[in-house]
Amino acid sequence: MSQKAGNLMTASDAIIETQGLGKSFKGFWAVKNVDLRVRRGTIHALIGPNGAGKTTCFNLITKFLVPSEGTIRFNGRDITALKPADVARLGLVRSFQISATFPHLTVMENVRVALQRPLGTSFQFWRSESSLDRLNDRAMALLADVGLETYSELPAVGLSYGRKRALEIATTLALEPEMLLLDEPMAGMGREDIARVSQLIKRVAKNRTVLMVEHNLNVVADLSDTITVLARGEILAEGDYATVSRNPQVVEAYMGTGAGTPAGASAADA
């Protein structure tokens, strides 16, 4: 997949484009002057030491935070002033660091909540719940896609961590988003779950764009076409894994002794 990163980028290739994006918290600039371009159809990773502004950047793009300055364009459209729910409706759907399921709804209901909005009956308090049953087949298909079909009747709270992540991805895919934003999809996962979710991300990225924040550099190296390294709220370097990991500034600011070191270990000086 990474050979795609070598291609030339033109303006129309960019699905997300930020210009001079900045966020200040009471005078502290968590993100400053970020020009980020995510090319359509790629997996783009946002990495950097702790406190580099990755998650802030992520929250700005999904509109969960309001930018202090700069603009964000999605498919050429200025979305800087939109509300988070409206951005989601455009097809730009995010995940969360803590796995985001609806714990006391069943696995099936979790996916159905995402499927039901386009029906246009979501305000109809007089209509029976059974009117949602026609979504069950699609919900099951989505669950089968992530290997959860046998758990459909269980409450989500009982799933293992990796399966919750899988459920979250199934729920997100139910919206048929053009672009996925994954906030640390592997956080807190065991090796086996990481392998499974990596496969899943590769699979769902086939016909969409993915932007992810991720700490696990093996995952980043394996999955991403392009990597943007942030440090102190600014872009330090950009390119494929080989390019970025050779960049001396990146090595100094982030990796300390060299490529492959887990984040955090050498981040204290950043």
């Binding site: 409706r89 985001a100 909540v113 979501s122 009747e153």
Partner: protein, 314 residues
């Protein structure tokens, strides 16, 4: 699961139909009014996760509207009830627009403050009769034909209102709208990220809850032929919280049971005077500390625990 719910509901309904042969109907009607009030309140706390601490404003103000419409304006009973319910729903819309943007304790505080404003308005304004309230409100025949002077007939009319309100809430909980409400209660940011404009959903739930609380207050006016400051003051808001917690918030029948327990205590322990409040306080503390799910919630949990786990282990 669902058929069992229906069965329990039918049994309770059968019980309520024959109840006035054994129990004083005015007491039963009082329970039903508060049960509807608590159910309306539970729609917010139990299914949206919003703690309103000002629901007395809808309950009490709707009572004044019904009383004024029926006694002073001479409106028929059903029109008085409808006007009161609509007024409460409109108040819910106004209050909701202000309060819905806040969460947790701030939401509770905003609703409390607004309900205090309504209380002082009722205290000062002429049409409410101030400290006296509106008294001797006539029981006009419903739809011009059903005479409700008789307590037994009135009981069945009140029961019909309660059942209608209860079914509306039940349907709301089990509707596409209810699914979204539960999703918002479970994980608000996630519901937003799925494209739901959650404020709109919360607002509609608030309006429904306020309207039904108003219907409950207006119905109580028919029973006691009185609308007074008691129903609009903040203690009433506290009482409905207590009923819902004791019965079990987030359960369909919990508020009904809670209302029955609290009203029975107030009624049958009258001889103890002020001590009833102390006992209520104790029950509140014990419920919060030991029976967090409330009476119905604990029974439900015990029933589902006994059943073997279904489906594959997670």
């Amino acid at each position: 699961m669902k058929s069992r719910e229906v069965l329990i509901g039918l049994l309770i309904l059968a019980g309520l139909l024959v109840a006035p042969t054994a129990i004083y109907p005015v007491f039963l009607m009082k329970v039903l009014c508060f049960a509807l009030f608590a159910c309306a309140f539970n729609l917010l706390i139990g299914y949206v996760g919003l703690l309103s601490f000002g629901h007395a404003m809808f309950f009490g103000f709707a009572a004044y509207i019904a009383g004024h419409a029926i006694k002073v304006l001479g409106w028929p009973t059903e029109l008085g009830l409808a006007a009161a319910t609509a007024t409460a729903a409109l108040m819910g819309l106004a209050v909701g627009l202000i309060a819905i943007r806040r969460q947790g304790i701030y939401f509770a505080m905003v609703t409390l403050a607004l309900s205090q404003m309504v209380f002082f308005f009722c205290l000062q304004s002429k049409f409410t009769g101030g400290e006296d309230g509106i008294q001797a409100i006539p029981r006009r025949p419903v739809f011009g034909v059903i005479d409700i002077q008789n307590d037994i007939t009135l009981y069945y009319f009140v029961l019909a209102i309660f059942v209608a309100g209860f079914l509306l809430i039940y349907r709301t909980i089990h509707s596409p709208f209810g699914q979204v409400l539960k999703a918002i209660r479970e994980n608000e940011p996630r519901a937003i990220s799925l494209g739901y404009r959650i404020d709109h959903y919360k607002l509609l739930a608030f309006v429904l809850s306020a309207g039904l609380a108003g219907l409950a207050g207006a119905t109580k006016v028919l029973v006691f032929q009185l609308a007074s400051l008691t129903d609009v003051q903040w203690q009433m808001s506290g009482e409905v919280v207590l009923m819902t917690l004791v019965g079990g918030m987030g359960t369909v029948l919990g508020p009904v049971v809670g209302a029955a327990v609290i009203i029975s205590m107030q009624n049958y322990l009258k001889g103890l005077g002020e001590w009833v409040l102390v006992i209520q306080g104790l029950i509140f503390v014990i419920t919060v500390l030991v029976f967090r799910r409330g009476v119905v919630g604990e029974i439900w949990a015990a029933m589902t625990r006994r059943k073997p786990e279904s489906g594959p282990p997670a």
